[in-house]
Amino acid sequence: MEKIYYQTLKETLFHEKLENGLEVYLLPKIGFEKTYGLFSTRFGSIDTTFVPLGQKEMIKVEDGIAHFLEHKMFDMENGDAADEFAKLGASSNAFTSSSRTAYLFSTTTNENDCVELLLDFVQSLNITDESVEKEKGIICQEIKMYDDDPDWRVYFGAIANLYHKHPVKIDIAGTCETVNNTYKDMLELCYQTFYHPHNMMLFVVGNINPEELIGVIKENQNKKHFLSENVIQRLKIEEPTSVAVKEQINTMQVEMNKLIVSIKINEILDDPQDKIKRELALNLLFDLCFSKSSSLYNEWLEKGYINETFSASFTQERDYAFILMGGDQDDYELLQKTIFNFIDHVQDLEIAEDDFERIKRKTIGNFINSYNSPESIANTFSRYYFEGICSFDLVDYVSKMTLADINEVKRYFSKEYASSYIVKKDK
């Protein structure tokens, strides 16, 4: 087992790649009662067109299938995985994002048994036509819960506006229609293709003994047989550079109008180092411009262009990237004008060296703080892992950032690739 010590964080990470291809990472947290295990697969809502394991032809499955599968994974031969965890004194859950699905448990007892249960329930699928049918109503209610959330609607709408073809434009859970068109055989096909150990990663953090636990994990994995691994072929999306919808207004019962301006970034970076540098630089830039300490932010606030709901963010996943900026504002045209004006003039924005150093300090502090939470450590690790980045290095990456790195990312702001999504009051 490989052992890596991170000086800045004072943390020791253990790593081993098992014979079946599964990557295992273990982080003991001394003094903690809690243990948190996260088992992730590189399979998310955007993986809807691919060559199934052992076949030759590309197929298209229903939207929302990764999420549907997540719901059904908990069915075990003799009951429900969540109940089995409960019997061990643990709670369990799962989530699906655009590029991955993750299963988790959290416990203060029976740590090794919980890890085994996590491996066992995710590494076998037990579904019937009836159990698949039954889940449809539940997932449909989950979709409707989000439909009533105006913040989710404006957020998701702003992303969807950018893309002609890329499946990130489709809601993670799909629609009630695609959910109703999902059947057992299709779920099984996805399962066989994407839940192979070589496409997965296990992270356990907390009150654990790494040497002992790796033994338990190996023994568990050695008992199981998996088909030989092959490289998963996913459809390469030919996404045009232009934005699909320039502006869209949606009427809802809300107390205040909402606007998000999204910017499509067509430059997809392959090198993980470049990727993380770009992400950190954009996040630092947003902090410099829009945190409470910024003059620009305070000016906008005083003039009434924005209120405290305003925020800006950068997202990049496997093969897409975008910027979002917006918030609540009854006069959304004024907010839109303000954001467009920012996009046009960001190149001229001068950043003072001391502001930059201060924001760096804050970012470093925030990263260190996040290492108090096992959940946050595991989730961040998994989120970056599939992008080829080790999240334990992030603090050191931030320390090395320069003002030139920040100025470099200003070029991504372009009105040509911007779109607006508005949620408007129906009064």
């Binding site: 061990l88 709670s91 959290s106 209610q141 107390e255 201060r358 804050k362 470093i364 703080n369």
Partner: protein, 420 residues
Amino acid sequence: MEKVYKMPGYDLHLLPTNKFKNITISLKLQNTLDEKTVAKRTLLSFMLTTGTEKYPSTQELSKYLESMYGMKLGANVVTKGKSHIININSICINQEYLPYKEDLIQQQIQLLNDIFFKPNASKMAFDQTMFERKKKELVERLINNQDDKFYYSLEKMFEYMGKGTCLGISSHGNIEDIKKIENEELFSYFKECIKNDQKHIYVVGNVDESIVHVFENCLSFEKNNSIFESVYSFEKNRKDLLEIIEKQDVTQAKLNMGYRISVNYTHQNHYAFVVFNAIFGGMSQSKLFKVVREKNSLCYYISSSYDAFNGVMVITAGIEGKDYHQTVQLIKEQLKEMQDGCFDQDDIDTAKLMIKNSMKKTNDEPLSQVAVQYNRDITGKKETNEQYLEKIENVTYQDIVDVCQNIELDTIFLLKGRNE
């Protein structure tokens, strides 16, 4: 283990541990929950974290906090039964993790002192610009909260159920009251709070007794012996079930059911009720989840929660409007089954394990640890986590059957679509 020190005007609680990379300081101001002051207290909590004499604006204060490696300073308000609490939380990196040593904790405590004794204010009022900005911000936030239909419908349920009692008072007051608050009025209320509110300060992190001297030098309040009531059991004030149905443009109906239970945090049956609630609707192995969601596919979320300070239980679920009567019927049947004793030792064992698990987890989260301790401190309950778990362990099947005999449905609030 917790150590308590009597300081001028406050109790200082130290919870030393070296497992965290930061130091958490939580200051709590307690007073009576009252319709006349709740709006002021909420706005005050907003004002307290916007600046001091030395850092006289949100911008200046933020710059300072950022330079302290992103020290967090936040405030919020909560109700605890008949009491209203303002929480001020400050979290800062432990200096051990810095490339060079800086005395961050001293500055952290000094800032708390400045918030109260060197505010960004004249003798009579807060800085007018900041006051207006924060007031506007709070009003907008409360308006926005109404877009969250889960939260909105739950608040409405409490409003109807608790009309005329403290249960019906929202923790943040109502928007119209906040709009009416004048700067001078708020400032004089601030002075009253400093004088009259019951104060506790909690410190979690790698600290030893020497920190007590730092507090002695940096922070003192006027002596104050006021005691405020908090925990109680909500009592019957209507003959029949109150059923309210409101229509809005929503696609999913939100069902909220409020129950009277005649148990509360200081009641001897508290532990039995905690176990009852876990079996009935408090976790994903519970009866409600299994029957309403898993068996009948009627919802994605459903749960019951026990508000131990008001002595009430609430059930929330997101359903189709047309399934309203069926859902309520199923919930009633599940409660009846519990009352008839239709649950087994496995249900009890699982519930107890889950309760134990969640109590132990609080030790890994500084603010949860503080919350658990604070509940005990304001109710005078002498109890350690171990003693709590022992009492949970001792709850019997019969205790659970007994404790749920007195549960009575009081109010239903349903928010549903216009076209249904």
